[in-house]
């Protein structure tokens, strides 16, 4: 849809030149009376709970009303080309950005059609071609709707991707647990992007701190598939290459079972049941003994 050409879009919605001719003719009856349309539309819009939120500023009302008149003028030009599509996309993005909900947008489009057809269009206009003309108008409005929905969608997924990135950045809190000992609790889902992120920040921290032991606790990870296991093995090997031993801890019974049934060779991974066991092993490796006071 995003990259669809105007021609393809018209084909998909079965719009032919005859439809565009009819829409232009409809426009010739409606355009001189668009001011009436705006009046009716705003009588309806003022009842919406969102109205106050968006239209507290009278200058804004004026600007939006002008834009709405332009919108219908352009639609009644009966030309579907790149610039038409670009402007529709901009309209969609604008509505999405101000946070107007899609149901409200649709209700307004639906109300607009009702006003234009029932109140603005002269009763006798177009004679027996009226039904065909209205059908053509609906098709073009639907194209427009499709473009607007797409724009909403894209903005929403951009937002989601942003949130996901933000979460990712928050999700590798490498902590210096002791001199020479680093800890990373991995929680949630590891996908390849996150695995790369972990690899990068872990190696960076090892380079900065010259740590000798790295405890990676995966008790917060519920699924270790072959791709994740592969990543964990690679991370372990890269650490070892930097002179740091990785101790994996918190392997749950479920994860242990699935990893073995998957047939993954984990002989290169140094694993401990709990984080405490890993820490004790870490202390031993860096030559620290922890004693109870007074002993």
């Amino acid at each position: 849809m995003e990259n669809m050409s105007p021609v393809l879009l018209m084909q998909r919605h079965e719009i032919v030149e005859a439809d565009l001719v009819l829409v232009r003719e409809l426009g010739s009856h409606i355009e001189p009376r668009l001011a009436e349309y705006v009046e009716h539309l705003y009588a309806w819009m003022r009842q919406l709970p969102e109205y106050e939120e968006y239209f507290a500023d009278p200058r804004r009302v004026e600007r939006v009303q002008r834009a709405q008149v332009d919108y219908w003028r352009e639609l009644f030009r009966g030309v579907i080309d790149e610039s038409f599509m670009a402007r529709r996309r901009a309209t969609g993005e604008m509505h999405a950005r101000i946070g107007l909900s899609l149901p409200t947008y649709f209700a307004a489009v639906d109300m607009s059609l009702t006003i234009l057809v029932d109140r603005v269009l002269p009763e006798a206009a177009l004679g027996d071609r009226k039904a065909a003309a209205l059908r053509a108008l609906t098709k073009i409005v639907h194209i427009d709707t499709a473009i607007v929905v797409e724009a909403y969608n894209r903005l929403t997924s951009e937002k989601l991707a942003g949130q996901a990135r933000a979460l990712l950045e928050l999700s590798t809190p490498v902590t210096a647990l002791w001199e020479d000992i680093l800890l990373l609790p991995v929680i949630g889902i590891i996908d390849s992007r996150r695995a790369q992120d972990i690899m990068r920040s872990v190696l960076q921290r090892i380079a900065e701190t010259r740590a000798k032991v790295f405890i990676m606790d995966i008790s917060g990870v519920s699924v270790v598939d072959t791709a994740v296991a592969n990543h964990l093995i690679k991370i372990t090997k890269a650490m070892r290459l930097m002179g740091c031993e990785c101790l994996l801890s918190g392997v749950s019974p479920a994860v242990a079972q699935t990893v073995i049934e998957l047939g993954i060779d984990i002989s290169s991974v140094n694993s401990r049941a709990t984080m405490r066991d890993a820490l004790e092993e870490g202390f031993r490796r860096v030559g620290i003994e922890v004693k109870r006071i007074g002993q």
Partner: protein, 140 residues
């Protein structure tokens, strides 16, 4: 409850378009399984197998669909996962089911591992038109 509600409760459809959908598969499948009263280690087993199939879709076919169904056979409860794509297909299915065989440089344990994790395993693949893998796990 209408028939439609019943179907919706029993069926989960997950579209896969790229690797960012894989975490989504895990989250939505986890919610589905726990709604069916299935918990660890069975949920981890089913989720791991499903993620293997989802990863294969992204890796070889780019996009596809995963359908998850709750099964009931007498008192026996089970989960069926069907992964379907319209990708290039697998030239030699037997080879793809062999441990450590991979055409992508990965561990090559995905498909054979999935077969070991689940009770029923069925694969249909046609070169040039796609692959469908259907797996079942009966909850012990």
């Amino acid at each position: 409850m209408s028939l439609r509600d019943a179907e919706n409760r029993e069926l989960l459809v997950l579209r896969i378009d790229d690797d960012s959908d894989i975490p989504v598969v895990l989250v939505r499948l986890g919610a589905f399984l726990s709604a069916q009263g299935i918990c660890a280690p069975e949920s981890a087993r089913i989720a791991t197998a499903t993620v293997e199939l989802a990863t294969n879709i992204v890796k070889y076919a780019k996009r596809g669909v995963i359908r998850v169904r709750a099964l009931r056979l007498g008192h026996q409860r089970g989960i069926e996962v069907e992964a379907e794509d319209k990708g290039p297909g697998i030239a030699n299915v037997n080879l793809a089911l062999t441990d450590s065989y991979s055409t992508s440089g990965s561990l090559g344990l995905g498909l054979p591992g999935v077969r070991r994790l689940m009770d029923d395993f069925d694969i249909r693949s046609t070169v040039g038109s796609g692959t469908t893998v259907r797996i079942r796990r009966w909850i012990p």
